[in-house]
């Protein structure tokens, strides 16, 4: 029922070859989380290491959404990659802070900031 009420749209773009930006729109919950997970799995298959999740248009996220983010974080850690959250709405930001997800997954205000963090990580890796 929620699928019909709150369809989730995910737009995929590649700011760089190993960086994928997923712009998510809609409620990220148990009914829609699988859709996002498929997109993430697909990008892992294509060898992306850095995942930027733009959540500016996600008014609601439940634990299913957090599960996906933390799992992606665990997978990228093994690949020396990263997951970044961009511009979460206040309710989503509140959940990310409350659960401590924002401790492990950096939150940025915009795509440029998160790309800068990716650069910084790559610089420290190579150093």
């Amino acid at each position: 029922m929620s699928i019909a009420q709150n369809p989730l749209s995910v737009e995929v773009s590649l700011p760089r070859e190993d960086v994928v930006l997923l712009t998510v729109e809609g409620h990220l919950d148990i009914d829609t989380a699988t859709g996002l997970q498929h997109h993430l799995a697909n990008q892992f298959q294509h060898g992306r290491r850095h995942f930027l999740l733009d959540l500016a248009a996600v008014p609601f996220m439940d634990s299913s959404g957090m599960n996906i983010i933390i799992r992606a974080y665990q997978q990228t850690r093994e690949l020396d990659g990263s997951v970044h959250i961009i511009a979460p709405t206040p309710p989503v930001r509140r959940i990310l802070d409350l659960t401590g997800v924002s401790i492990t997954v950096p939150v940025s205000n915009n795509v440029e900031d998160s790309l800068a963090l990716v650069d910084k990580q790559q610089g420290s890796d190579s150093a």
Binding site: M1, S2, A4, H27, I30, D31, P59, F60, D62, S63, S64, M66, N67, I70, R71, Y73, Q74, R77, P90, P91, V92, R94, I95, L98, T99, G100, V101, I103, T104
Partner: protein, 644 residues
């Protein structure tokens, strides 16, 4: 002597044979002018015609007096001869003599003496006319009867020679008779020609008529063809429309059916979808329905066959000839109305039989194809719903089995509520627990395993057991949560949990608590003030992060109430969790300490009710109220019940 009527006056033109044949021309009409009939015959020298055409004077050719048949014959013969002499054509001659003969016979029958005058009209001379007039010589016999007369046309260049009266002998009469036959033969020949002509024209007309008929037939055929085309087009359009309607219905109906994960609801929707357009009535026979009456109800024979064979059956007093449907043998008792029995589900996983009566006298074959497909989809939907319900029932059963009977204590009252999600898959992760540690402390905990369903419920039970096991060795809430964090991370790297643990001690008014990614506990103090215990919590249990979760403390005064809850109580999609937490705090502030002392369970109910009024109930809700009695110290001093 009167003039003839316009019809008799008409002068036949020599070349107009067709018109001279017309009866109007040859008719010997009696004169209409009654007054003129009284006039003496001889005075008839100038007659005013009724029409505008003036008629010139007549020249008397000859006169006969007739009283016997030989007189008449002689007169007739002479007339014929004179007419011939005046160039009257054979046809006209025959006409004149035949008419004259007939008139004279009548006159002889009547008796008396009759006079025949033959005159020639000389003016205008080029249009010569020969006129015969019969009048009675006996005045007494003239009963106002008009004289008979007849006019025929003479030939041109007349008269050649004035004929002498015929000799009164047999030979002459015989010659005349034979001559008359020649005239008659000529007439007959002309008649034959005319008949041929008529025949020819009739044939022409016939052919024309046939042509017209053929044309009409072609027009009719073209019209019919057009009608047929229109009808065919209408039919094709109707069929296309019906097919489109069926497909739309199938798509819509499938969406409606699969939208529900409740198999009773699927069955109900099936009925409302099909009646009245595609079925008169719908009965769903589910094989393992809970309802005893439904299980044991008598079933139509065709439904039993459909259940046994897995093939649709049609039972009626006529063969259905429906595609993909067996006609049920008519030997079985016939149903009152035709029945279509379609198996629900596959042969490997039969669900039941859909039993339909037709919307009208019979089903359309295409509708039946659609109904079979819809039933197949309904079977899938019911199967899915049942599997889902089964899974969900197990999760809920497991969860309820693990939810604790709360320890009863004299100084500290506990009240817990667990409300599983009323719809959706979100069941399974919430839990609460309360138990004592060896040092007499009471541990209360509330938690929420992320993810849902059976997996989450099982994980929840493991966490719950692990917590109890760790707590046997003592440890503060923060220490216990840290252990759970490590436990979960190692055991289930893909599952996470949030939790709050609060520890009460009978000899110590200090409440120790710790949280991991969980919404903050809310504390009501006896003065009616409410405090949100939002000191920084640890991160969610199990996430890939090393952490030591901190303890926090607050001093409790008797009459204080601590509310532990899961996010289902406070989280709303439109708002997040903070407005919900504020509402919980406000609601708790309205309680009176005396009520909380008296009946904590009632307080829990009255707290939940308003908070959940706007909830979609798509998530579990857990609430654990811990109330330190206003007279806790007093109660604790009771020797028989030490502390709680």
């Amino acid at each position: 002597m009167s003039s003839a009527g316009p019809g008799a006056r008409r002068e036949p033109s020599p070349d107009a044979d067709l018109t001279t044949f017309h009866p109007a021309v040859i008719a010997a009409l009696p004169a209409r002018d009654a007054s003129s009939s009284a006039r003496p015959v001889g005075d008839d020298t100038a007659v005013a015609a009724p029409g505008p055409t003036p008629v010139g004077p007549h020249t008397m050719i000859r006169t006969w007096h007739i009283s016997t048949a030989p007189d008449a014959a002689r007169a007739r013969v002479d007339t014929a001869r004179l007419a011939a002499a005046h160039g009257v054509s054979g046809m006209e001659r025959a006409r004149l003599t035949a008419a004259l003969g007939a008139e004279l016979r009548q006159c002889l029958t009547r008796g008396g003496t009759w006079r025949l005058d033959l005159r020639a009209a000389t003016d205008p001379p080029e249009d010569g006319l020969l006129r015969a007039v019969v009048t009675s010589c006996d005045d007494t016999d003239d009963e106002g009867r008009p004289p008979w007369h007849m006019t025929v046309a003479c030939g041109e260049g007349v008269p050649a020679a004035d004929a002498e009266p015929v000799a009164d002998d047999q030979e002459t009469l015989a010659d005349a008779l034979l001559g008359a036959d020649e005239d008659t033969a000529l007439v007959l020949e002309r008649l034959g020609e005319q008949e041929d002509l008529v025949t020819f024209h009739r044939e022409e007309l016939e052919q024309t008529n046939q042509g017209v008929l053929a044309l009409h037939a072609e027009l009719d055929a073209a019209g019919q063809a057009q009608l047929d085309l229109l009808a065919a087009e209408r039919k094709a359009r109707g069929e296309a429309e019906a097919a489109r309607r069926r497909l739309t219905f199938l798509a819509d109906a499938s969406a409606v059916l699969t939208a529900s994960l409740n198999h009773d609801e699927v069955v109900r929707r099936l009925e409302s979808l099909l009646v009245p357009e595609y079925a008169g009535s719908v009965d769903v026979w589910l094989f393992d329905a809970d309802d005893e009456d439904r299980v044991n109800a008598p079933r139509p024979a065709a439904a039993v066959v459909a259940a046994r064979t897995g093939r649709p059956q049609y039972a009626a007093d006529h063969p259905g000839d429906l595609p993909g449907v067996d006609d049920h043998p008519s030997a079985a008792p016939l149903p009152a109305a035709p029945l279509l029995c379609i198996p629900l589900g596959t042969r490997r996983t039969p669900q039941g039989v859909l039993i339909l009566t037709p919307p009208a006298a019979r089903w359309d074959a295409d509708d039946v194809v659609m109904l079979i497909e819809l039933t197949r989809r309904a079977g899938v939907a019911i199967d899915n719903a049942r599997r889902f319900e089964h899974n969900r029932d197990i999760a809920e059963t497991l969860q309820r089995a693990l939810l604790t009977d709360l320890p009863t204590t004299p100084g500290l009252h506990l009240a817990a509520r667990y409300l599983p999600a009323t719809h959706g898959l979100n069941i399974g992760g919430d839990w609460y627990d309360a138990f004592r540690q060896p040092d007499g402390s009471l541990i209360t905990v509330i938690g929420d395993v992320t993810g849902h369903g059976l997996h989450a419920a099982v994980m929840m039970s493991q966490l719950r057991t692990a917590l109890r096991a760790y707590a046997v060795d003592g440890g503060t809430p923060g220490q216990l949560l840290t252990k759970l964090h490590i436990f979960l991370h190692h055991l289930q790297p893909e599952l996470y949990a949030t939790a709050v643990i609060a520890r009460f001690h009978p000899d110590d008014p200090t409440l120790t608590w710790a949280a991991a990614g969980h919404p903050p506990p809310v504390l009501r103090t006896p003065d009616g003030q409410v405090h949100t215990l939002d000191a920084k919590p640890g991160a969610m249990l199990g996430i890939p992060l090393q952490q030591v979760i901190q303890d926090h403390t607050v001093t409790l005064t008797p009459g204080s109430t601590l509310a532990l809850y899961t996010d289902g109580l406070v989280e709303r999609r439109a708002q997040g969790i903070d407005p919900g937490i504020e509402r919980l705090a406000a609601a708790l502030g309205t309680f009176r300490s005396a009520d909380l002392d008296a009946d904590l369970d009632a307080s829990a109910d009255s707290l939940l009710h308003p908070l959940l009024a706007d909830s979609e109930r798509d998530d579990d809700v857990c609430l654990l109220l811990c109330h330190l009695h206003s007279r806790a110290a007093e109660l604790a001093k009771t020797p028989t019940r030490l502390a709680f």
